[in-house]
């Protein structure tokens, strides 16, 4: 059974600081997604990482994928309060021609002033 684990589960950080969220998964996969969820809202797509070594950046967020280590990171640079949300990674697995996403446990990020 595929396990997708994120750490930390909860992160409180001050504005202006840097931090990294880790996503580890237990089976081979070549595609990984990062989503953001605000309280009471649906999921917003942040990044789709399509191959080993992929790196994508948007604003203060940068995501990377190491398929050999089965690890993805979401790095936050100079955090601001607006980044407070829950962040999920999700891993693609395949069964025949079908594919599906399995979600990580989520990391609740709180950026304090």
């Amino acid at each position: 059974e595929l396990k997708v684990e994120q750490n930390p589960l909860f992160l409180s950080m001050q504005e202006g600081k840097n931090y990294t969220i880790y996503c580890n998964y237990s089976t081979t996969s070549d595609r990984l997604y990062w989503y953001r969820q605000d309280p009471g809202k649906s999921l917003e797509s942040l990044f789709v990482l399509l191959s080993n070594g992929a790196v994508k950046q948007e604003g203060r967020l940068m995501a990377s994928l190491d398929t050999k280590a089965r690890l993805s990171t979401l790095h936050i640079t100079a955090a601001v309060h607006d980044l407070s949300a829950t962040y999920f990674c999700a891993v693609v697995t395949y069964t025949g021609t079908a594919s599906k996403l399995t979600f990580g446990t989520g990391t609740r990020l709180q950026v304090t002033l």
């Binding site: 649906s42 996403l101 989520g106």
Partner: protein, 114 residues
């Protein structure tokens, strides 16, 4: 991208009743999925809705409890049958577009069973 709407947005239902949730997409999509998110938890895939055939259910979810229809490439329904308080969750429709990579989520249906 894809714009997804769900109806209802929220509902409070009595134990033993059923609720049908609708998912409408503004364009044809290759794949549609239904997820459940229990309070404070991550997302769990219920099933893949297949156009013109029976849905593919994940372990722990059965058709009698969660019947799904997908009559065309833009619409799907999920029914939560014979509800109990344990079914109180957010139910999210999700779609994958023709490119095969991006996967989008609807606004969700917040269900409370009393």
């Amino acid at each position: 991208s894809a714009v997804i709407s769900q109806k209802p947005s929220r509902d409070i239902c009595q134990r033993g009743t059923s609720l049908t949730i609708q998912c409408q997409v503004d364009s044809q999509v290759t794949m549609m999925f239904w997820y459940r998110q229990q309070p404070g938890q991550s997302l769990t895939l219920i099933a893949t809705a297949n156009q013109g055939s029976e849905a593919t259910y994940e372990s722990g979810f059965v058709i009698d409890k969660f019947p799904i229809s997908r009559p065309n490439l833009t619409f799907s329904t999920l029914t939560v049958s014979n509800m109990s308080p344990e079914d109180s969750s957010i139910y999210l429709c999700s779609v994958r577009t023709g490119s095969g990579y991006e996967q989008y989520f609807g606004p969700g249906t917040r269900l409370t069973v009393t």
